[in-house]
C-alpha cells in the first residue's frame, strides 16, 4: 500500500474490516432463521443490488444514462426461460447464456445509440428497449406473449430456497468484486475521464466510442445475468421484465443510494426493495408513496443516502486526524 494511516484512520479502517466480517456472517446465516418469504425477498434484493451496481458503471462513473436496460435484463431472463423450457442443455450453459445475450444485445444497441449523447442517447436506448418489449409481448409462438413462460425448472442442487439463495449470494459477491476491480482499473479511470471531459479524453489518445461501447456492453452483460437469476428465482418470466419501468429501477436505486459512490447503488437497491415491499403490503397506491419518499432524497440529498453518509464520515475522519 505504502500509505501511512494516522490513528483515527487506522481506527476506522479496523471498523471497516469488522463491518464487512459482520455483513458476511449475517448474509451466511440468513437461511437459518429467515422464512421462505424473506429469503426470497433478500435473494431478489441481491439480484437488484448487482443490477444497480453494474448499471452505475455507465451512469455514475460514465455519465451516460440509459433508459433501456430492461432490454438486457429481459433478454437474459427470456434466454434462461426459453432454454430451460425448450432444450435439455446443461444448467451451466443455460445460465451463461443470460450474460452472453445481454452483453451481445448491448453491443448491438450500444453501437447505434452511442453515436448520440445525453437525452438523445437515453431516448434511443428506450426506443430499442420498447421495440423489444413489443416483440416479446406479441410473439406468442416463441415467447408466450403476455402469458410469458411458466415453470422454469431448477437443477436439483438449487431446488431449495436456501440453496438458491447461497448460489445467488456467491454470484452477486463475485460480480460486485469484479465491478469493483473494473471501476478501479485504468479502464474505470478512463470512463470517469470521459464523464468529466470527452474532448480532452479524445486528445489523450483514447478511442472514446470504444470506451463507451465497452462500458455499455459490460453493464448489459451484468443486466442479462441479473435477468437470468431473476427468472430462476421466480421460475417464470413475463414481458414485465422488459417493460420500461424495469429500466427505471437501476436509475432510481443509483440516485437513491448515491451514484457517485461504489456502494451507493447497493444501499439504494436494499432500501427500495424494502420500501416497495413494506408499502405495497399496506396500500395498493404504493407507487405514490414510493415517489413521495424518493423525491425528497433526490432533491435534498443529491449525493444519495450512502453518498451523503460517506462524505460525512470522511470529513469526520479528516477532522479527527487533524486534532
Amino acid at each position: 500500500m505504502g500509505t501511512l494511516l494516522n490513528g483515527p484512520q487506522r481506527h476506522f479502517a479496523n471498523l471497516g474490516v469488522l463491518w464487512w466480517v459482520a455483513v458476511g456472517i449475517i448474509l451466511m446465516v440468513f437461511p437459518i432463521f429467515l422464512s421462505k418469504f424473506w429469503l426470497y425477498l433478500i435473494t431478489f434484493m441481491l439480484i437488484q443490488a448487482l443490477f444497480a451496481v453494474s448499471f452505475n458503471l455507465i451512469m455514475g462513473y460514465g455519465g451516460m444514462i440509459s433508459f433501456g436496460h430492461a432490454a438486457f435484463f429481459g433478454i437474459g431472463a427470456y434466454a434462461v426461460a426459453l432454454l430451460s423450457a425448450r432444450t435439455s442443455l446443461p444448467f451451466a450453459l443455460i445460465l451463461i447464456s443470460a450474460p452472453v445475450v445481454g452483453g451481445l444485445l448491448a453491443l448491438i444497441i450500444g453501437f447505434f445509440c452511442l453515436r448520440s449523447h445525453g437525452l438523445y442517447f437515453a431516448l434511443l436506448t428506450m426506443v430499442f428497449a420498447e421495440m423489444l418489449y413489443h416483440v416479446v409481448h406479441k410473439w406468442y409462438n416463441f415467447t408466450g406473449g403476455d402469458n410469458g413462460i411458466q415453470g422454469i425448472p431448477l437443477p436439483f442442487f438449487l431446488e431449495t430456497q436456501a440453496s438458491y439463495y447461497y448460489f445467488v449470494l456467491f454470484l452477486v459477491v463475485v460480480g460486485i468484486i469484479l465491478v469493483w476491480r473494473i471501476v478501479n482499473s485504468p479502464f474505470g479511470n478512463a470512463v470517469m475521464a470521459f464523464r468529466e471531459n470527452e474532448e480532452r479524453t479524445d486528445f489523450v489518445g483514447i478511442n472514446t466510442m470504444k470506451l463507451r461501447l465497452e462500458a455499455f456492453s459490460i453493464s448489459g452483460l451484468y443486466s442479462g445475468l441479473c435477468g437470468g437469476l431473476f427468472a430462476l428465482l421466480t421460475q417464470q418470466v413475463s414481458p414485465d421484465v422488459m417493460f420500461w419501468t424495469k429500466s427505471a429501477e437501476p436509475i432510481f436505486m443509483g440516485l437513491f443510494g448515491g451514484m457517485y459512490t461504489f456502494f451507493g447503488p447497493i444501499v439504494g437497491a436494499i432500501a427500495i426493495v424494502f420500501l416497495e415491499q413494506f408499502i405495497s403490503a399496506h396500500t395498493k397506491y404504493w407507487a405514490i408513496f414510493m415517489g413521495l419518499i424518493i423525491l425528497p432524497v433526490v432533491l435534498f440529498l443529491p449525493e444519495g443516502l450512502y453518498g451523503t453518509f460517506e462524505r460525512r464520515i470522511k470529513a469526520m475522519i479528516r477532522r479527527r486526524g487533524e486534532i
Binding site: 469484479l178 479502464f187 479511470n189 478512463a190 479524453t201 483514447i206
Partner: protein, 244 residues
C-alpha cells in the same frame, strides 16, 4: 516534421483557413501569430483532427494524417493544449495525468489491473518536472488558473508527443507563471527534442522563444521566417505589429 499543404476550411461560407502551406521543422519552436480571428485555432483544430479540412493535406513525418480520428492523431505523436483550460475538474491532479499516461502505455482497456499501480512512476516524474507534485491530491477544479494551465501541459506531455501544439499556453497567467512556462517550453524543446508549435498573444513571449514565426491574417499566411525577418517585414508591421 509537420507539413501542411493547401489546407483550407470554411464555416458557413466564411474562410477560416485559406490555402495554408507551411512546414514545421523537427526540434523547432515555431510560433503562429496573428490578430484575433486570423485562423490560428482553426489551423490547430485541423491538424489535430478536431475539424476535417475542406481542402488540402496534413502530413506528419511523411504520413498523411488528414481527417484521421482525434485519438489516432494523438497516438501518432501529436498532443495539444487548448486556449480555454481543458482538464478533468473532478479528478485529482494525479489522476488527470495518469489517465494520459495509461493511455500512452496502452493500458486504457485493461479491465482488471489496478489503476493505482499503472504508470505511477511516470506520472509522479512528470508532476515533479512541471512543479505540480505538491498539488497531486487536489482536484483539478481546486487549482488556480495558472496551475490549471500547467496541468494541461502535463496532460499533453504524458502522451510523449513528438509534436506539441500549444494554443496560447500563457493566456491569463501571471508574469511569473508566464516566465516559468516559457522556460519550460524551451527546456522541453532542448532537453527532449520536442517540436513545439504554439500560438500566442504576448508578442514579447513569442520573440523570446520562437525560432521560427508564421504570421496569419484572415485565414491565410501573411509572412513566415526567422523572428528578425518577420519583425522587419513591412506587411506584418502594417497589419499586426503596428496595431498592437
Amino acid at each position: 516534421m509537420l507539413y501542411l499543404e493547401n489546407l483550407g476550411k470554411s464555416f458557413e461560407g466564411l474562410m477560416a483557413v485559406n490555402d495554408v502551406n507551411m512546414m514545421v521543422k523537427e526540434g523547432d519552436i515555431h510560433a503562429i501569430i496573428g490578430p484575433n480571428g486570423a485562423g490560428k485555432t482553426t489551423l490547430f483544430n485541423l491538424i489535430t483532427g478536431y475539424h476535417h479540412p475542406d481542402t488540402g493535406k496534413v502530413v506528419l513525418r511523411k504520413e498523411d494524417i488528414t481527417g484521421l480520428p482525434r485519438h489516432i492523431i494523438c497516438q501518432k505523436g501529436i498532443a495539444r493544449s487548448f486556449q480555454r483550460v481543458n482538464i478533468y475538474p473532478k479528478l485529482t491532479v494525479f489522476q488527470n495525468v495518469q489517465v494520459a499516461v495509461s493511455s500512452q502505455q496502452g493500458y486504457t482497456f485493461s479491465l482488471f489491473s489496478l489503476a493505482k499501480r499503472i504508470g505511477r512512476k511516470e506520472t509522479e516524474e512528470l508532476l515533479d518536472e512541471l512543479g505540480l507534485f505538491q498539488y497531486k491530491d487536489l482536484k483539478g477544479e481546486e487549482l488556480s488558473h495558472g496551475v490549471k494551465k500547467q496541468l494541461e501541459l502535463a496532460i499533453s506531455l504524458a502522451n510523449k508527443p513528438k509534436l506539441l501544439l500549444l494554443d496560447e499556453p500563457t493566456a491569463g497567467m501571471a508574469p511569473e507563471e508566464t516566465r516559468i512556462t516559457l522556460e519550460l517550453i524551451q527546456m522541453l524543446s532542448k532537453g527532449k527534442g520536442l517540436t513545439v508549435l504554439f500560438t500566442e498573444h504576448d508578442i514579447a513571449a513569442v520573440f523570446a522563444i520562437a525560432k521560427r514565426i508564421t504570421v496569419m491574417h484572415q485565414g491565410a499566411i501573411l509572412a513566415e521566417g526567422l523572428p528578425e525577418e518577420v519583425r522587419a517585414n513591412p506587411e506584418v508591421q502594417r497589419v499586426y505589429l503596428g496595431e498592437s
